[in-house]
Symmetry: C2
Subunit: 345 residues, 2 copies
C-alpha cells in the first residue's frame, strides 16, 4: 500500500515533525512510502527517501528537490513538458500549526486527497486548549479547572500557587512553565506570551498519576493501544520532548487495575467518537483521587505513538482503509431554473 | 480599493451564494470589484462582471471563462506563455459547506490571501449548531436547550412537543421542520437526515420575540448594525430565505428599549471577541421572558446583511483595513543544529 508522509509546516514544532517523519520511515517500512515536506514558506517538496535526515532540511537541501503543488487528487510535479500527479493516502504528520490547527485537513479535504489525521473540527477542539475544555464540559469528561489570560487585558490570576501556565495553542511543552509563587510569575507570562496571545492557567497538581492512551477507529470500533505511564519529570521540556518524538521501541504497559483501564478507554471513546474519525490520537490523562481527568488530546502524536501499539503496521493499514468519506453536496440549480422559468426566461 | 467576491462552493447553499454575490455587486459598486466562482467540483473561475447573472452558472457558461488556481498571495491565471496573479482582499461569500465550515478560511490563510470572513476556529463554532451550544455554555451566553440525534443510533426524544428539528451543519433553514406531534416525527427526521448525519432537537418556543443584530470589529472595537425584528412566519423556509438573500434595501430599526438593545449588543460582543475578528457576522437572538438567548450565528450572512447597515460601503472598507494578521512561526533549525554539533556532525 502507498502512503505519503506529509511533514514540516510553518510551526514551532517544525523540527519535531522532521524527527517524527524520520522515525516513521523506519517504523512503516512495510509500506510503499513517499515523503512530502512543507517548508516554512508553505512550499511543498518531494523528498528523496535516501535524504530523509535532519540535516537535509536544516541545510536547505530540500530546495534542490522537486517542488510540488497541491492539486485535485494529489500533489502535482511539473516539468517542462509533462506533469506527474503523486496520489497516495497522506499521513498528516505536521505537528502544531498548519498540521494540528485544521489547515492541512481543510486543504486535503478540499482537494479530495485521502488522509490519516484529524479533520477540521477535531483539529480545532484539540489544538486550542480552551476549546478542549469547552468540549470536555459539553460531553461530560472531567478536566482540570482553568482560567484564560489574554495578552491585551490585565487580569488577576485567581488560581492558588503552584500553577502551570501554557500557551493556549501550542503542544510539545513549548512556552509552558510551572510557577511556584508570585516572584516567578512575570517571567513565565512573558515566556508564554511570546508564543501565543492567549494563555491557560491551571492549578499544578502534585502527586497525580499520568496515563497515556492512544487509539483509532476502524471498521466501526475504536482500537486501543496499551496504556502507558509516562516517565515523570516535573514535566517534559522541549528538548526531552524532542527526543521523545523519535521513540520507536515498544513500552511496557502501565500496572493499573482492569477497572481503571476500562474507565480510561471509556473516556477516550467519549472524546473520539463523532469527532476524531480518520485520526490516530493520543489522550493524556491525569488520575486524581481515583477520578479520570483529560489533560490533553494529541491529534497527531509524535511518530504516531507507534511505541504504544503491538502491531503498528497493521494498525496503520486498518486505519487507512477506514477513513471517513466526505459527502459533497450536489448542485442542481433547481431554484435558479424555477425562477428563470417563472420569469419566462 | 480592490475586492474579490468569492462565491459558489460545493454546498447546499450554492445557489444562495450566487444570489448573494449578485446583490453585493450592486451594493459594493464603489469598490474595484472582481468575482471568483468556486464550482461544485472545486474549480475556480474568474467571472466577467457583466455576466454576473444567475443563469450564467445554471447554464454552465462560467466554464468558458478563465480558470484560476489558488496560489501564494492570490489566484493564478495561466495562459500559454504567461501567468497573472489576481491579488485583492477576498470577501468570502460562500455560504454553507466550503465557506462557513472553515475550509475556505484555511485555504486563504495557508496561501496568505487577506480575506473578510470567519477564520477556521470561528467557522467550526458557528457552522455546527452543536458547537455553537458548546460555545454558549463555555462563555456564559444563554441558548435554547437541545438534544443531539445521530443517524447511527436510536434514541428517544425527551423534549416535549412541539419541537424543531434541524440538521446540525446547515444554514438557510434547509432540512428544518417544526414537529407538532409524534405523527409528524418520522417524516421530519427523514428530511433532516437527508442533509446531515447529526441533528439538533429543540423545543419550539411559541411567542418568542426574534431580533437580528450584525456587526464587525474594526480599529479595536465592535461596530454594530441596527437591530432588526425579522418578519415572522412560522420560520423562513428555503424559498423565502432564497429571496431573502437578495435583500438590498435598508430595513427599519426594531422598536425596543435601550436596555434590551444594550443587552443584545453585549451578548453579541461576548460571542464575537477573540473569535470572529475579520468577519462581519449576524447573530440571531430570541428574547423569552425578557432574557436574551442566542439562536444562531451567521458568520457569512446573506449578502453580508448589507440592509442592516446605514453606510454599508464604509463598514466594509473599515473592516477590510482591520483584518487579523496571522503570525507565522519562524523556523530556526536550532535543535537540529545543536544535535548535529553535539554529534560532531
Amino acid at each position: 500500500m502507498k502512503l505519503t508522509i506529509l511533514f514540516g509546516g510553518a510551526s514551532f514544532e517544525h523540527e519535531i515533525s522532521i524527527v517524527s517523519a524520520i522515525t516513521l520511515k523506519e517504523k512503516l517500512s512495510g509500506f510503499d512510502l513517499s515523503f512530502i515536506f512543507c517548508d516554512q514558506d508553505h512550499s511543498f517538496y518531494l523528498i528523496d527517501p535516501l535524504k530523509m535526515k535532519a540535516v537535509t532540511f536544516s541545510k536547505g537541501e530540500h530546495k534542490k528537490m522537486p517542488e510540488l503543488s497541491i492539486s485535485k487528487g494529489g500533489f502535482l510535479q511539473k516539468s517542462m513538458f509533462s506533469s506527474t500527479l503523486h496520489k497516495a493516502t497522506v499521513v498528516n504528520l505536521i505537528h502544531g500549526a498548519d498540521g494540528e490547527d485544521g489547515t492541512m485537513a481543510a486543504l486535503l479535504d478540499f482537494f479530495s486527497i485521502a488522509y490519516i489525521g484529524p479533520r477540521v473540527d477535531a483539529s480545532v477542539f484539540s489544538y486550542d486548549k480552551r476549546y478542549t475544555k469547552y468540549l470536555c464540559e459539553a460531553i461530560g469528561v472531567r478536566c482540570v479547572n482553568y482560567e484564560v489570560l489574554s495578552a491585551n487585558e490585565h487580569k488577576n490570576i485567581k488560581t492558588p500557587y503552584p500553577i502551570i501556565i501554557k500557551p493556549a495553542r501550542l503542544g510539545s511543552s513549548i512556552g509552558v512553565s510551572i510557577v511556584k509563587d508570585e516572584s516567578e510569575l512575570d517571567y513565565a507570562l512573558d515566556t508564554a506570551f511570546e508564543f501565543d496571545s492567549a494563555l491557560i492557567v491551571e492549578p499544578f497538581l502534585e502527586g497525580v498519576k499520568e496515563y497515556n492512551l492512544a487509539g483509532y477507529m476502524a471498521n466501526g470500533e475504536v482500537h486501543f493501544s496499551i496504556v502507558e505511564e509516562p516517565q515523570k519529570n516535573e514535566f517534559l521540556d522541549f528538548e526531552k520532548k524532542y527526543m521523545d518524538f523519535s521513540r520507536s521501541s515498544q513500552v511496557l504497559e502501565a500496572d493499573i487495575s482492569d477497572d481503571l483501564k476500562q474507565r480510561l478507554q471509556n473516556t477516550f471513546e467519549k472524546i473520539y467518537k463523532n469527532l476524531f474519525e480518520g485520526a490516530l490520537i493520543r489522550c493524556d490523562f491525569f488520575v486524581v483521587n481515583d477520578e479520570v481527568y483529560l489533560n490533553e488530546i494529541n491529534p497527531i502524536p509524535g511518530s504516531m505513538a507507534n511505541y504504544l501499539f503491538a502491531d503498528f503496521t497493521s494498525s496503520v493499514e486498518e486505519l487507512a482503509h477506514s477513513l471517513p468519506r466526505p459527502k459533497r453536496a450536489q448542485v442542481s440549480y433547481e431554484y435558479i431554473h424555477s425562477i428563470s422559468q417563472a420569469k419566462g426566461k
